[in-house]
Amino acid sequence: MNSVLSCSDLSFKVRGAELLNGVSLEVQRGETLGIVGPNGSGKSTLLKLLAGLREPSAGEVLLDGQRLGKMARRSIAQKLAVVEQQADTDDGIRVFDAVALGRTPWLSALQPWSAADDAIVEQALTDVDAMHLRTRLWRSLSGGERQRVHIARALAQRPQILLLDEPANHLDIQHQLTILNVVQALPVTTLIALHDLNQALKCDRLAVLERGRLVALGAPLEVLTPQRLQDTFGVRAHYLTDPFDGAQILRFHS
Protein backbone atom coordinates (compact mmCIF):
# COMPACT_ATOMS: atom_id res chain seq x y z
CA MET A 1 0.00 0.00 0.00
CA ASN A 2 1.22 3.45 -0.79
CA SER A 3 -0.65 5.25 1.93
CA VAL A 4 1.08 8.16 3.68
CA LEU A 5 -1.65 8.91 6.15
CA SER A 6 -4.37 6.61 7.37
CA CYS A 7 -6.77 6.21 10.21
CA SER A 8 -8.77 3.29 11.50
CA ASP A 9 -11.93 3.33 13.57
CA LEU A 10 -11.38 6.94 14.55
CA SER A 11 -13.86 8.39 17.04
CA PHE A 12 -14.00 11.66 18.95
CA LYS A 13 -16.35 12.63 21.74
CA VAL A 14 -16.76 15.93 23.54
CA ARG A 15 -18.83 15.81 26.74
CA GLY A 16 -20.78 12.81 25.51
CA ALA A 17 -21.49 14.30 22.07
CA GLU A 18 -20.10 12.07 19.35
CA LEU A 19 -18.45 14.32 16.75
CA LEU A 20 -16.76 11.51 14.85
CA ASN A 21 -17.64 7.86 14.81
CA GLY A 22 -15.54 4.96 13.50
CA VAL A 23 -13.92 6.66 10.50
CA SER A 24 -11.35 4.64 8.57
CA LEU A 25 -9.58 5.86 5.45
CA GLU A 26 -6.23 5.85 3.70
CA VAL A 27 -4.68 8.78 1.88
CA GLN A 28 -2.62 7.78 -1.16
CA ARG A 29 0.71 9.43 -1.88
CA GLY A 30 0.30 12.36 -4.26
CA GLU A 31 -3.49 12.44 -4.38
CA THR A 32 -5.86 15.28 -3.53
CA LEU A 33 -8.52 13.87 -1.24
CA GLY A 34 -11.52 16.10 -0.65
CA ILE A 35 -13.68 15.88 2.48
CA VAL A 36 -17.28 17.00 2.08
CA GLY A 37 -20.36 16.93 4.23
CA PRO A 38 -23.00 19.23 5.66
CA ASN A 39 -22.21 21.64 8.50
CA GLY A 40 -21.39 19.80 11.70
CA SER A 41 -20.68 16.52 9.92
CA GLY A 42 -17.18 16.34 11.42
CA LYS A 43 -14.92 17.64 8.62
CA SER A 44 -12.87 19.94 10.85
CA THR A 45 -12.77 17.37 13.64
CA LEU A 46 -11.45 14.71 11.27
CA LEU A 47 -8.70 17.05 10.03
CA LYS A 48 -7.72 18.00 13.59
CA LEU A 49 -7.45 14.34 14.57
CA LEU A 50 -5.46 13.47 11.45
CA ALA A 51 -3.09 16.34 12.26
CA GLY A 52 -2.73 15.16 15.85
CA LEU A 53 -4.12 18.43 17.21
CA ARG A 54 -6.73 16.47 19.21
CA GLU A 55 -6.50 13.08 20.87
CA PRO A 56 -9.02 10.59 19.45
CA SER A 57 -11.39 8.95 21.93
CA ALA A 58 -10.88 5.70 20.06
CA GLY A 59 -8.97 4.44 17.04
CA GLU A 60 -5.60 5.56 15.76
CA VAL A 61 -3.89 7.61 13.05
CA LEU A 62 -0.83 6.34 11.18
CA LEU A 63 1.57 8.80 9.54
CA ASP A 64 4.12 7.07 7.29
CA GLY A 65 3.36 3.87 9.17
CA GLN A 66 4.01 5.37 12.61
CA ARG A 67 1.35 5.91 15.26
CA LEU A 68 0.70 9.64 15.48
CA GLY A 69 0.15 9.56 19.25
CA LYS A 70 3.66 8.17 19.74
CA MET A 71 5.44 10.72 17.55
CA ALA A 72 7.03 13.96 18.77
CA ARG A 73 5.16 17.09 17.63
CA ARG A 74 8.30 18.22 15.88
CA SER A 75 8.65 15.13 13.69
CA ILE A 76 4.94 15.30 12.84
CA ALA A 77 5.38 18.93 11.78
CA GLN A 78 8.28 17.99 9.53
CA LYS A 79 5.95 15.71 7.54
CA LEU A 80 2.53 17.28 7.84
CA ALA A 81 1.33 20.88 7.69
CA VAL A 82 -2.08 22.32 8.54
CA VAL A 83 -3.96 25.32 7.21
CA GLU A 84 -6.65 26.14 9.74
CA GLN A 85 -9.99 27.65 8.86
CA GLN A 86 -9.55 30.82 10.88
CA ALA A 87 -6.15 31.57 12.35
CA ASP A 88 -5.73 35.24 13.04
CA THR A 89 -3.47 37.43 15.12
CA ASP A 90 -3.46 40.93 16.56
CA ASP A 91 0.34 41.03 16.45
CA GLY A 92 1.98 43.49 14.09
CA ILE A 93 3.73 40.69 12.20
CA ARG A 94 4.96 41.04 8.62
CA VAL A 95 4.10 38.57 5.88
CA PHE A 96 7.66 37.31 5.47
CA ASP A 97 7.95 36.63 9.21
CA ALA A 98 4.54 34.93 9.28
CA VAL A 99 5.67 32.55 6.51
CA ALA A 100 9.07 32.12 8.19
CA LEU A 101 7.23 30.53 11.15
CA GLY A 102 6.88 27.51 8.86
CA ARG A 103 10.57 26.79 9.35
CA THR A 104 10.04 26.27 13.12
CA PRO A 105 10.03 22.45 13.04
CA TRP A 106 13.38 22.45 11.20
CA LEU A 107 15.21 24.89 13.49
CA SER A 108 16.49 24.43 17.01
CA ALA A 109 17.36 26.87 19.80
CA LEU A 110 21.03 27.06 18.86
CA GLN A 111 20.66 26.85 15.11
CA PRO A 112 20.57 30.27 13.47
CA TRP A 113 18.30 31.19 10.56
CA SER A 114 20.17 30.44 7.32
CA ALA A 115 20.17 31.55 3.70
CA ALA A 116 18.58 28.19 2.84
CA ASP A 117 15.62 29.04 5.09
CA ASP A 118 15.32 32.41 3.33
CA ALA A 119 15.20 30.63 -0.02
CA ILE A 120 12.52 28.18 1.16
CA VAL A 121 10.33 31.01 2.48
CA GLU A 122 10.70 32.93 -0.77
CA GLN A 123 9.84 29.83 -2.79
CA ALA A 124 6.73 29.30 -0.66
CA LEU A 125 5.68 32.90 -1.21
CA THR A 126 6.23 32.51 -4.94
CA ASP A 127 4.21 29.27 -5.01
CA VAL A 128 1.13 31.08 -3.72
CA ASP A 129 1.84 34.21 -5.78
CA ALA A 130 2.38 36.38 -2.70
CA MET A 131 5.98 37.52 -3.16
CA HIS A 132 4.78 41.09 -3.62
CA LEU A 133 3.20 41.00 -0.13
CA ARG A 134 6.38 40.04 1.72
CA THR A 135 6.90 43.32 3.59
CA ARG A 136 3.21 44.02 4.23
CA LEU A 137 1.74 43.87 7.73
CA TRP A 138 -0.58 40.93 8.40
CA ARG A 139 -3.47 43.10 9.50
CA SER A 140 -3.36 45.10 6.27
CA LEU A 141 -4.09 41.98 4.17
CA SER A 142 -7.44 41.00 2.67
CA GLY A 143 -9.04 37.65 3.51
CA GLY A 144 -7.77 36.01 0.35
CA GLU A 145 -4.25 37.31 0.85
CA ARG A 146 -4.22 36.04 4.44
CA GLN A 147 -5.30 32.60 3.30
CA ARG A 148 -2.50 32.54 0.71
CA VAL A 149 0.01 33.53 3.41
CA HIS A 150 -1.27 30.70 5.64
CA ILE A 151 -0.76 28.26 2.78
CA ALA A 152 2.73 29.66 2.17
CA ARG A 153 3.55 29.13 5.86
CA ALA A 154 2.39 25.53 5.59
CA LEU A 155 4.50 25.09 2.43
CA ALA A 156 7.57 26.54 4.17
CA GLN A 157 7.35 23.52 6.47
CA ARG A 158 8.24 21.48 3.36
CA PRO A 159 5.60 18.89 4.27
CA GLN A 160 4.75 15.68 2.44
CA ILE A 161 1.12 16.13 3.40
CA LEU A 162 -0.95 19.27 3.56
CA LEU A 163 -4.26 19.43 5.44
CA LEU A 164 -6.55 22.34 4.61
CA ASP A 165 -9.80 23.19 6.37
CA GLU A 166 -12.14 24.99 3.96
CA PRO A 167 -9.38 27.30 2.71
CA ALA A 168 -11.69 29.14 0.33
CA ASN A 169 -14.38 29.86 2.88
CA HIS A 170 -15.56 33.47 3.16
CA LEU A 171 -13.63 34.49 0.05
CA ASP A 172 -15.08 36.04 -3.07
CA ILE A 173 -15.30 33.84 -6.14
CA GLN A 174 -12.10 35.10 -7.75
CA HIS A 175 -10.06 34.40 -4.63
CA GLN A 176 -11.76 31.04 -4.13
CA LEU A 177 -10.62 29.93 -7.57
CA THR A 178 -7.11 31.31 -7.07
CA ILE A 179 -6.70 29.46 -3.77
CA LEU A 180 -8.02 26.19 -5.19
CA ASN A 181 -5.81 26.43 -8.26
CA VAL A 182 -2.81 27.09 -6.04
CA VAL A 183 -3.64 24.07 -3.90
CA GLN A 184 -4.21 21.81 -6.88
CA ALA A 185 -0.87 22.77 -8.43
CA LEU A 186 1.08 21.89 -5.28
CA PRO A 187 3.34 18.86 -5.56
CA VAL A 188 2.23 17.38 -2.23
CA THR A 189 -0.40 14.99 -0.95
CA THR A 190 -3.38 17.10 -0.01
CA LEU A 191 -6.37 16.60 2.23
CA ILE A 192 -8.88 19.36 1.85
CA ALA A 193 -12.23 19.98 3.50
CA LEU A 194 -14.55 21.73 1.04
CA HIS A 195 -17.94 23.30 1.20
CA ASP A 196 -18.67 23.84 -2.47
CA LEU A 197 -19.50 20.50 -4.08
CA ASN A 198 -18.75 21.68 -7.62
CA GLN A 199 -15.27 22.61 -6.47
CA ALA A 200 -14.99 19.24 -4.72
CA LEU A 201 -15.58 17.50 -8.08
CA LYS A 202 -12.04 18.48 -9.08
CA CYS A 203 -10.44 16.36 -6.33
CA ASP A 204 -8.97 12.94 -7.15
CA ARG A 205 -11.18 11.28 -4.54
CA LEU A 206 -13.86 12.40 -2.14
CA ALA A 207 -14.79 11.30 1.36
CA VAL A 208 -18.37 12.11 2.40
CA LEU A 209 -19.11 12.62 6.07
CA GLU A 210 -22.57 12.57 7.59
CA ARG A 211 -23.10 13.15 11.31
CA GLY A 212 -19.59 11.97 12.17
CA ARG A 213 -19.64 8.87 9.97
CA LEU A 214 -17.86 8.20 6.70
CA VAL A 215 -20.69 7.27 4.33
CA ALA A 216 -18.88 7.22 0.98
CA LEU A 217 -15.35 7.26 -0.38
CA GLY A 218 -14.24 7.20 -4.00
CA ALA A 219 -14.04 9.07 -7.32
CA PRO A 220 -16.14 12.28 -7.16
CA LEU A 221 -18.68 11.36 -9.80
CA GLU A 222 -19.18 7.89 -8.32
CA VAL A 223 -19.58 9.26 -4.82
CA LEU A 224 -21.70 12.37 -5.33
CA THR A 225 -24.67 10.61 -6.90
CA PRO A 226 -28.08 12.30 -6.87
CA GLN A 227 -29.17 9.67 -4.32
CA ARG A 228 -26.19 10.49 -2.03
CA LEU A 229 -26.89 14.21 -2.31
CA GLN A 230 -30.50 13.60 -1.35
CA ASP A 231 -29.60 11.34 1.60
CA THR A 232 -26.66 13.27 3.04
CA PHE A 233 -27.21 16.87 2.07
CA GLY A 234 -30.98 16.83 1.77
CA VAL A 235 -31.03 18.40 -1.68
CA ARG A 236 -32.19 17.18 -5.06
CA ALA A 237 -29.52 17.58 -7.71
CA HIS A 238 -28.60 16.47 -11.17
CA TYR A 239 -25.55 16.80 -13.40
CA LEU A 240 -25.24 19.18 -16.35
CA THR A 241 -22.55 19.00 -18.96
CA ASP A 242 -20.61 22.18 -19.59
CA PRO A 243 -20.74 22.71 -23.39
CA PHE A 244 -17.34 24.43 -23.23
CA ASP A 245 -15.24 21.53 -21.98
CA GLY A 246 -17.59 18.63 -21.36
CA ALA A 247 -17.10 18.82 -17.58
CA GLN A 248 -19.88 17.66 -15.28
CA ILE A 249 -21.42 20.25 -13.00
CA LEU A 250 -24.03 19.91 -10.31
CA ARG A 251 -27.28 21.81 -10.30
CA PHE A 252 -29.27 21.84 -7.06
CA HIS A 253 -33.00 22.10 -6.29
CA SER A 254 -34.41 22.48 -2.83
Binding site: R74, I76, V82, A87, T89, D90, D91, A109, H150
Partner: protein, 338 residues
Amino acid sequence: MKASLIRTLVALATLLIAVVAGVAIGETSIEPGVVVQVLANKLWNAGYALDPIDEGIVWNYRLTRALVAAACGAGLATCGVILQSLLRNPLADPYLLGISAGASTGAVMVALLGVGAGMISLSVGAFAGAVTAFVLVILLARVSGSASGTGQIILAGIAGSQLFNALTAFLITRSASSEQARGIMFWLLGNLGGVRWPSVWLAVPVAVLGLVVCLWHRRALDAFTFGADSAASLGIPVRQVQILLIGCAALVTAVMVSIVGSIGFVGLVIPHAARLLLGTGHARLLPASALGGAVFLIAADVLSRTLIKGQVIPVGVITALVGAPVFALILVGRRSAR
Protein backbone atom coordinates in the same frame (compact mmCIF):
# COMPACT_ATOMS: atom_id res chain seq x y z
CA MET B 1 26.62 37.47 13.71
CA LYS B 2 28.71 40.62 13.95
CA ALA B 3 25.65 42.88 14.05
CA SER B 4 24.15 40.88 16.89
CA LEU B 5 27.44 41.13 18.82
CA ILE B 6 27.36 44.91 18.45
CA ARG B 7 23.73 44.99 19.60
CA THR B 8 24.63 42.92 22.66
CA LEU B 9 27.48 45.27 23.54
CA VAL B 10 25.28 48.34 23.09
CA ALA B 11 22.64 46.75 25.34
CA LEU B 12 25.17 45.94 28.07
CA ALA B 13 26.65 49.46 27.85
CA THR B 14 23.16 50.97 28.17
CA LEU B 15 22.49 48.82 31.22
CA LEU B 16 25.81 49.85 32.79
CA ILE B 17 25.13 53.54 32.18
CA ALA B 18 21.64 53.19 33.67
CA VAL B 19 23.04 51.47 36.79
CA VAL B 20 25.75 54.13 37.24
CA ALA B 21 23.15 56.89 36.78
CA GLY B 22 20.83 55.12 39.23
CA VAL B 23 23.62 55.04 41.79
CA ALA B 24 24.79 58.61 41.18
CA ILE B 25 21.42 60.37 41.32
CA GLY B 26 19.85 60.75 44.73
CA GLU B 27 19.26 63.13 47.58
CA THR B 28 23.02 63.42 48.04
CA SER B 29 24.19 63.17 44.47
CA ILE B 30 27.46 61.45 43.84
CA GLU B 31 29.72 62.15 40.86
CA PRO B 32 29.44 59.36 38.24
CA GLY B 33 33.25 59.34 38.26
CA VAL B 34 33.23 58.47 41.94
CA VAL B 35 30.70 55.68 41.30
CA VAL B 36 32.97 54.16 38.67
CA GLN B 37 35.97 54.50 41.00
CA VAL B 38 34.10 52.71 43.80
CA LEU B 39 33.24 49.92 41.38
CA ALA B 40 36.87 49.73 40.29
CA ASN B 41 38.04 49.63 43.91
CA LYS B 42 35.64 46.87 44.86
CA LEU B 43 35.91 44.77 41.73
CA TRP B 44 39.59 45.10 40.82
CA ASN B 45 41.16 46.56 43.99
CA ALA B 46 42.02 49.65 41.93
CA GLY B 47 42.98 51.53 45.10
CA TYR B 48 41.47 54.98 44.44
CA ALA B 49 41.47 57.12 47.56
CA LEU B 50 37.80 57.83 48.33
CA ASP B 51 35.64 59.07 51.18
CA PRO B 52 34.62 55.85 53.01
CA ILE B 53 31.11 57.26 53.59
CA ASP B 54 30.62 57.81 49.84
CA GLU B 55 32.05 54.40 49.22
CA GLY B 56 29.64 52.85 51.72
CA ILE B 57 26.61 54.64 50.27
CA VAL B 58 27.51 53.62 46.75
CA TRP B 59 28.43 50.01 47.44
CA ASN B 60 25.96 49.00 50.15
CA TYR B 61 22.91 51.15 49.50
CA ARG B 62 22.62 52.66 46.06
CA LEU B 63 24.31 49.93 44.00
CA THR B 64 22.34 47.07 45.55
CA ARG B 65 19.18 49.10 45.02
CA ALA B 66 19.98 49.83 41.37
CA LEU B 67 20.92 46.22 40.66
CA VAL B 68 17.76 44.83 42.27
CA ALA B 69 15.68 47.43 40.40
CA ALA B 70 17.34 46.36 37.14
CA ALA B 71 16.77 42.67 37.85
CA CYS B 72 13.14 43.23 38.85
CA GLY B 73 12.43 45.40 35.84
CA ALA B 74 14.04 42.88 33.49
CA GLY B 75 12.27 39.95 35.15
CA LEU B 76 8.82 41.55 35.17
CA ALA B 77 9.13 42.69 31.54
CA THR B 78 10.15 39.15 30.52
CA CYS B 79 7.11 37.78 32.39
CA GLY B 80 4.91 40.23 30.50
CA VAL B 81 6.28 39.02 27.16
CA ILE B 82 5.69 35.36 28.07
CA LEU B 83 2.14 35.91 29.30
CA GLN B 84 1.15 38.10 26.35
CA SER B 85 2.50 35.56 23.86
CA LEU B 86 1.16 32.39 25.43
CA LEU B 87 -2.26 33.77 26.39
CA ARG B 88 -2.56 35.69 23.09
CA ASN B 89 -3.63 38.70 25.10
CA PRO B 90 -1.95 42.11 24.84
CA LEU B 91 -3.14 43.09 28.33
CA ALA B 92 -1.61 40.10 30.10
CA ASP B 93 0.80 41.13 32.85
CA PRO B 94 1.71 39.45 36.15
CA TYR B 95 0.12 42.31 38.09
CA LEU B 96 -3.15 42.55 36.13
CA LEU B 97 -3.63 38.77 36.15
CA GLY B 98 -3.42 38.62 39.92
CA ILE B 99 -0.16 36.63 39.94
CA SER B 100 1.59 39.35 41.95
CA ALA B 101 -1.30 39.51 44.41
CA GLY B 102 -1.15 35.73 44.87
CA ALA B 103 2.61 35.93 45.37
CA SER B 104 2.11 38.66 48.00
CA THR B 105 -0.37 36.51 49.88
CA GLY B 106 2.01 33.55 49.78
CA ALA B 107 4.95 35.65 50.98
CA VAL B 108 2.94 37.32 53.76
CA MET B 109 1.66 33.94 54.90
CA VAL B 110 5.20 32.62 55.18
CA ALA B 111 6.41 35.80 56.91
CA LEU B 112 3.59 35.78 59.48
CA LEU B 113 3.58 32.05 60.13
CA GLY B 114 7.32 32.41 60.54
CA VAL B 115 8.20 29.31 58.55
CA GLY B 116 11.82 30.40 58.36
CA ALA B 117 12.17 34.12 57.77
CA GLY B 118 14.82 33.78 55.07
CA MET B 119 14.37 35.23 51.59
CA ILE B 120 14.33 31.77 50.02
CA SER B 121 11.37 30.60 52.09
CA LEU B 122 9.58 33.88 51.35
CA SER B 123 10.14 33.21 47.65
CA VAL B 124 8.87 29.65 47.96
CA GLY B 125 5.70 30.94 49.65
CA ALA B 126 5.34 33.60 46.98
CA PHE B 127 5.79 31.00 44.23
CA ALA B 128 3.08 28.78 45.70
CA GLY B 129 0.80 31.83 45.93
CA ALA B 130 1.62 32.92 42.37
CA VAL B 131 0.87 29.50 40.86
CA THR B 132 -2.35 29.17 42.88
CA ALA B 133 -3.51 32.60 41.74
CA PHE B 134 -2.68 31.91 38.09
CA VAL B 135 -4.48 28.55 38.06
CA LEU B 136 -7.53 30.10 39.74
CA VAL B 137 -7.66 33.02 37.32
CA ILE B 138 -7.33 30.78 34.25
CA LEU B 139 -10.00 28.41 35.55
CA LEU B 140 -12.33 31.32 36.24
CA ALA B 141 -11.71 32.72 32.75
CA ARG B 142 -12.34 29.25 31.23
CA VAL B 143 -15.54 28.67 33.13
CA SER B 144 -16.90 32.12 32.35
CA GLY B 145 -16.06 32.01 28.64
CA SER B 146 -13.05 31.42 26.46
CA ALA B 147 -9.70 31.81 28.18
CA SER B 148 -8.41 33.60 25.12
CA GLY B 149 -11.06 36.30 25.25
CA THR B 150 -9.25 39.52 26.14
CA GLY B 151 -11.87 40.88 28.49
CA GLN B 152 -12.65 37.61 30.23
CA ILE B 153 -9.19 36.92 31.52
CA ILE B 154 -8.63 40.50 32.68
CA LEU B 155 -11.92 40.38 34.59
CA ALA B 156 -10.87 37.07 36.11
CA GLY B 157 -7.54 38.72 36.97
CA ILE B 158 -9.33 41.56 38.77
CA ALA B 159 -11.41 39.05 40.76
CA GLY B 160 -8.23 37.14 41.61
CA SER B 161 -6.31 40.27 42.62
CA GLN B 162 -9.14 41.43 44.86
CA LEU B 163 -9.46 38.04 46.51
CA PHE B 164 -5.74 37.70 47.21
CA ASN B 165 -5.35 41.30 48.35
CA ALA B 166 -8.25 40.75 50.74
CA LEU B 167 -6.64 37.55 52.01
CA THR B 168 -3.37 39.42 52.54
CA ALA B 169 -5.14 42.21 54.42
CA PHE B 170 -7.00 39.64 56.51
CA LEU B 171 -3.77 37.83 57.37
CA ILE B 172 -2.07 41.08 58.33
CA THR B 173 -4.90 42.32 60.54
CA ARG B 174 -5.24 38.96 62.20
CA SER B 175 -1.66 38.12 62.94
CA ALA B 176 0.66 41.06 62.50
CA SER B 177 1.71 43.56 65.12
CA SER B 178 1.07 47.17 64.13
CA GLU B 179 4.75 47.70 63.38
CA GLN B 180 4.87 44.53 61.24
CA ALA B 181 1.68 45.65 59.50
CA ARG B 182 3.14 49.03 58.57
CA GLY B 183 6.27 47.37 57.20
CA ILE B 184 4.27 44.85 55.16
CA MET B 185 1.90 47.49 53.76
CA PHE B 186 4.82 49.61 52.59
CA TRP B 187 6.49 46.58 51.02
CA LEU B 188 3.23 45.59 49.26
CA LEU B 189 3.17 48.83 47.29
CA GLY B 190 6.59 48.08 45.92
CA ASN B 191 9.57 49.18 47.89
CA LEU B 192 13.24 48.99 46.96
CA GLY B 193 14.46 50.38 50.29
CA GLY B 194 16.39 48.00 52.45
CA VAL B 195 17.62 45.70 49.70
CA ARG B 196 21.18 44.53 50.35
CA TRP B 197 23.57 42.16 48.66
CA PRO B 198 21.69 38.91 49.49
CA SER B 199 18.69 40.31 47.56
CA VAL B 200 20.98 41.05 44.61
CA TRP B 201 22.29 37.48 44.64
CA LEU B 202 18.72 36.19 44.45
CA ALA B 203 17.16 38.71 42.04
CA VAL B 204 19.89 38.91 39.39
CA PRO B 205 20.36 35.15 38.79
CA VAL B 206 16.59 34.60 38.69
CA ALA B 207 16.10 37.41 36.15
CA VAL B 208 18.96 36.10 34.01
CA LEU B 209 17.67 32.53 34.27
CA GLY B 210 14.17 33.63 33.24
CA LEU B 211 15.54 35.48 30.23
CA VAL B 212 17.76 32.58 29.15
CA VAL B 213 14.94 30.00 29.44
CA CYS B 214 12.70 32.27 27.33
CA LEU B 215 15.37 32.95 24.74
CA TRP B 216 15.91 29.21 24.45
CA HIS B 217 12.19 28.92 23.59
CA ARG B 218 12.04 32.05 21.44
CA ARG B 219 10.94 30.14 18.32
CA ALA B 220 8.20 28.42 20.30
CA LEU B 221 6.97 31.82 21.51
CA ASP B 222 7.02 33.06 17.90
CA ALA B 223 5.04 29.99 16.84
CA PHE B 224 2.16 31.01 19.14
CA THR B 225 1.50 34.06 16.90
CA PHE B 226 -1.52 32.39 15.30
CA GLY B 227 -2.70 30.55 18.41
CA ALA B 228 -2.03 27.29 20.21
CA ASP B 229 -3.31 24.94 17.47
CA SER B 230 -1.11 26.69 14.97
CA ALA B 231 1.87 26.36 17.33
CA ALA B 232 1.14 22.65 17.70
CA SER B 233 1.01 22.17 13.93
CA LEU B 234 4.39 23.93 13.72
CA GLY B 235 5.86 21.20 15.92
CA ILE B 236 5.67 22.86 19.34
CA PRO B 237 4.74 20.57 22.26
CA VAL B 238 2.19 23.15 23.37
CA ARG B 239 1.22 21.91 26.82
CA GLN B 240 4.83 21.27 27.82
CA VAL B 241 6.00 24.72 26.67
CA GLN B 242 3.04 26.46 28.34
CA ILE B 243 3.69 24.79 31.69
CA LEU B 244 7.43 25.44 31.57
CA LEU B 245 7.24 29.09 30.53
CA ILE B 246 4.26 30.07 32.68
CA GLY B 247 5.95 28.29 35.60
CA CYS B 248 9.01 30.34 34.78
CA ALA B 249 6.95 33.57 34.77
CA ALA B 250 5.36 32.62 38.10
CA LEU B 251 8.79 31.91 39.60
CA VAL B 252 10.31 35.19 38.42
CA THR B 253 7.27 37.16 39.60
CA ALA B 254 7.30 35.37 42.96
CA VAL B 255 10.98 36.04 43.60
CA MET B 256 10.65 39.71 42.64
CA VAL B 257 7.52 40.16 44.77
CA SER B 258 9.19 38.52 47.76
CA ILE B 259 12.08 40.99 47.47
CA VAL B 260 10.37 44.27 46.53
CA GLY B 261 6.62 43.73 46.80
CA SER B 262 4.25 43.92 43.86
CA ILE B 263 5.25 46.44 41.25
CA GLY B 264 2.67 46.73 38.50
CA PHE B 265 2.61 47.61 34.82
CA VAL B 266 6.32 47.00 34.03
CA GLY B 267 5.31 43.80 32.25
CA LEU B 268 2.67 45.69 30.31
CA VAL B 269 4.38 48.93 29.30
CA ILE B 270 7.82 47.67 28.37
CA PRO B 271 6.96 44.77 26.02
CA HIS B 272 4.51 47.02 24.16
CA ALA B 273 7.11 49.71 23.67
CA ALA B 274 9.63 47.09 22.54
CA ARG B 275 7.16 45.62 20.04
CA LEU B 276 6.47 49.04 18.59
CA LEU B 277 10.19 49.64 18.09
CA LEU B 278 11.44 46.20 17.07
CA GLY B 279 8.49 44.15 15.85
CA THR B 280 7.21 40.85 17.20
CA GLY B 281 10.15 38.40 16.81
CA HIS B 282 11.08 37.11 20.26
CA ALA B 283 14.79 36.79 19.47
CA ARG B 284 14.96 40.58 19.70
CA LEU B 285 11.82 41.33 21.69
CA LEU B 286 12.94 39.37 24.78
CA PRO B 287 16.37 40.96 25.33
CA ALA B 288 15.03 44.39 24.39
CA SER B 289 12.16 44.06 26.87
CA ALA B 290 14.51 42.88 29.62
CA LEU B 291 16.82 45.83 28.98
CA GLY B 292 13.91 48.26 28.76
CA GLY B 293 12.42 46.89 31.99
CA ALA B 294 15.74 47.24 33.79
CA VAL B 295 16.26 50.83 32.68
CA PHE B 296 12.61 51.72 33.33
CA LEU B 297 12.63 50.45 36.91
CA ILE B 298 15.97 52.09 37.71
CA ALA B 299 14.51 55.37 36.43
CA ALA B 300 11.28 54.83 38.37
CA ASP B 301 13.31 54.20 41.52
CA VAL B 302 15.36 57.37 41.01
CA LEU B 303 12.11 59.33 40.58
CA SER B 304 10.59 57.71 43.66
CA ARG B 305 13.57 58.88 45.73
CA THR B 306 13.90 62.38 44.32
CA LEU B 307 10.39 63.55 43.38
CA ILE B 308 9.46 64.68 46.90
CA LYS B 309 12.35 65.98 49.01
CA GLY B 310 12.95 63.91 52.10
CA GLN B 311 10.27 61.36 51.17
CA VAL B 312 10.37 58.08 49.29
CA ILE B 313 7.32 57.31 47.17
CA PRO B 314 6.73 53.55 46.75
CA VAL B 315 8.16 52.64 43.34
CA GLY B 316 4.93 50.79 42.47
CA VAL B 317 3.14 54.14 42.61
CA ILE B 318 5.50 55.58 39.98
CA THR B 319 5.17 52.57 37.65
CA ALA B 320 1.38 52.70 38.00
CA LEU B 321 1.35 56.43 37.20
CA VAL B 322 3.11 55.63 33.93
CA GLY B 323 1.48 52.26 33.34
CA ALA B 324 -2.20 52.95 33.85
CA PRO B 325 -2.39 55.54 31.03
CA VAL B 326 -0.50 53.13 28.74
CA PHE B 327 -3.03 50.42 29.64
CA ALA B 328 -5.79 52.83 28.63
CA LEU B 329 -4.00 53.62 25.36
CA ILE B 330 -3.71 49.93 24.51
CA LEU B 331 -7.43 49.46 25.17
CA VAL B 332 -8.30 52.35 22.87
CA GLY B 333 -5.77 51.24 20.25
CA ARG B 334 -7.23 47.74 20.15
CA ARG B 335 -10.67 49.10 19.57
CA SER B 336 -9.61 51.21 16.61
CA ALA B 337 -7.63 48.28 15.17
CA ARG B 338 -10.83 46.25 14.90
